[in-house]
């Protein structure tokens, strides 16, 4: 059986936090981009 050590689980969770931060950054940028589209699109 492939065993996964406790450290490996910790590493996975660290990678998961990095994934989450990257996705949160993308979501924030989309929000700002659409507000900007409204600001720049209004004459």
């Amino acid at each position: 059986m492939d065993m996964v050590s406790h450290d490996d689980i910790k590493d996975r969770r660290k990678r998961a936090v990095k994934t989450a931060l990257a996705l949160a950054f993308v979501a924030t940028m989309i929000f700002i981009a659409f507000i900007l589209s409204g600001v720049l699109g209004t004459t």
């Binding site: 059986m1 492939d2 996975r12 994934t19 989450a20 993308v26 989309i30 209004t42 004459t43």
Partner: protein, 540 residues
């Protein structure tokens, strides 16, 4: 490794369940508990949103104004939609994701358990705030769930509460999606490659990307509405140099993928259930994955088919029309693959299978009326009529909701360790399947005859079909009490224990666990082989 030895391998966990009600439910970080919280919350919202639907159908039972004021009727149509979309269907799917994804990929829990707790507990506050607007002087939102300006900007002070509640729902959805993606990409058991994942996991992975891409768009749109309403900006105010049609573009850039957010996990559930009760592997697994991804991609480039009537260049109409029609291709792949899965299978018709077959048939009707609406020239006639109401309710009720029902009946024995009443489950299915057609099919005719949506009164020529539709609605609404009874009986009273596998044809990692699964499952990662891969050839 045999199924039994998997049981032994994963049942030796000590439970370590938190003691005390608050510790167990308020502070929980356990994916199973949080899944249960989501599902219970969604069920509550189904009944609140459903009671609003009953008000709508009661008022429309006969022509003339009988029961409610037109302003309140508009609040009911708006709140019914907001609650069903954001409070019922979406949280229900997140509940399924929480319960099943870690078990399906061999992970011990979601990747970010504390954020998982927070994602859920935002929701009750968001919906309390939204519902509280009904008791405010200016009343609840009444411009439809699309919140089109300038109408939505004519509401009173309560609009700020609506916008804030939508922001909170969005934050909850985004955090839930981030958790799903982080879990699937980082927490899979060794050997569980992406193309070995059950289709439900795949559909949720794609759904989560859709959510992260479009919920901020909705947040941006309602933020601009907020500043237009309260801070004197003119994003959507033509008199101030803004453009109300721009709101429609932004809203539907969110709104169309939102439809797929509600239906893609349903595709996943159906793709789990049909193979189990046909005792055959899913036909065309790889094609199903690519079809799901194609539908998700296409959902971003079809938004303006919701607004053909605002006036746009012919090339624009043609682009959005053809792009929309193109969605029929991957959707057709899915429907044909489901039928092929059943073809020559050793089929049995337990309640989950009945709901799944009901889904395939009735969702396809909703898809076909969607093709009719996609034709730009014809849409000018159908737009804003009951034909549209019939179309999206076929997609969402015998579509998403039937898939939710199918999924609950399918996994409930796994979740609770007890069997539900098959007899009452089947009674629930047949009453639901018949009444949902009595409810929504006549609305096609009403729409084709020109009855507009979101209007509390109508011409007497529409009386008969409205009465039939309302009767179907009352039966459908009442029949959902059977569902609550079946679930409550299973959870609290049923004495029939479920086996680990539950269903003879069930394949996948979650079925290697005991029923109910241990509070902490897969602390030791499972072995991934042909007996644990749901769609492996020759395993049924």
């Amino acid at each position: 490794m045999s199924i039994e030895s998997h049981d032994a391998a994963h049942d030796d966990n000590h439970d370590h369940k938190p003691t005390g009600f608050l510790n167990r439910w308020l502070f929980t970080t356990n994916h199973k508990d949080i899944g249960t919280l989501y599902l219970v919350f969604a069920l509550l919202m189904f009944f609140i949103g459903g009671s609003m639907a009953m008000v709508i159908r009661a008022e429309l039972f006969m022509p003339g104004l009988q029961l409610v004021e037109p302003e309140f009727f508009n609040q009911m149509t708006t709140m019914h939609a907001l609650i069903m979309v954001f409070g019922a269907v979406m949280p229900a799917w997140v509940g399924f994701a929480n319960w099943n994804i870690p078990m399906m990929i061999g992970a011990p829990d979601m990747a970010l358990p504390r954020m998982n707790n927070w994602s859920f507990w935002i929701l009750p506050f968001a919906f309390t705030m939204l519902l509280s607007t009904l008791f405010m002087d200016s009343g609840g939102p009444a411009a439809g769930w699309t919140l089109y300006p300038p109408l939505s900007l004519q509401g009173g002070q309560s609009f700020a509460f609506v916008v804030f509640s939508i922001h909170m729902m969005g934050i909850s959805s985004i955090m839930g999606s981030i958790n799903v993606i982080a879990t699937i990409l980082n927490m899979r058991a060794p050997g569980m490659s992406l193309m070995k994942m059950p289709l439900f996991v795949w559909t949720w992975l794609i759904t989560a990307f859709l959510l992260i891409a479009v919920m901020p768009v909705l947040a941006g749109a309602v933020t601009m509405l907020l500043t237009d309403h309260f801070f004197g900006t003119s994003f959507f105010n033509a008199a101030g140099g803004g453009d109300p049609v721009m709101f429609q573009h932004i809203f539907w850039f969110f709104g169309h993928p939102e439809v797929y957010i509600m239906i893609l996990p349903a595709f996943g559930v159906i793709s789990e259930i049909l193979p189990t009760f046909s005792r055959k592997p899913l036909f065309g697994y790889t094609a199903m994955v690519y079809a799901t991804a194609s539908i998700a991609f296409l959902s971003f480039i079809v938004w303006a088919h919701h607004m053909f009537t605002v006036g746009m260049p012919l090339t624009g109409e043609l682009f959005f029309m053809y792009a929309t029609l193109l969605i029929a291709v991957p959707t057709g792949v899915k429907v044909f693959n489901w039928v092929s899965t059943m073809w020559k299978g050793s089929m049995t018709f337990e309640t989950p299978m009945l709901f799944a077959i009901g889904f395939v048939v009735l969702f396809t009707i909703g898809g076909l009326s969607g093709l009719m609406l996609a034709i730009a020239a014809a849409d000018l006639q159908y737009h804003d009529t009951y034909f549209v109401v019939a179309h999206f309710h076929y997609v969402l009720v015998p579509g998403s909701v039937f898939a939710l029902m199918a999924g609950v009946y399918y996994w409930l024995p796994k979740w609770t360790g007890r069997m539900y009443s098959e007899k009452w489950g089947k009674i629930h299915f047949w009453i639901s399947a018949i009444s949902v057609n009595i409810l929504f099919f006549p609305q096609h005719y009403l729409g084709l005859a020109g009855m507009p949506r979101r209007i509390p009164d109508y011409s007497t020529q529409f009386a008969d079909f409205n009465m039939i539709s309302s009767i179907g609605g009352f039966i459908f609404g009442a029949s959902q009490l059977i569902f609550v009874g079946v679930v409550a009986h299973c959870v609290f009273r049923s004495r029939q224990a479920a086996t680990g596998r539950v269903w003879e044809g069930a394949k996948g990692l979650e079925w290697t666990l005991s029923s109910p699964p241990p509070y902490h499952s897969f602390n030791t990662p499972p072995v991934i082989d042909s007996s644990t891969v749901a769609h492996a050839e020759g395993t049924h």
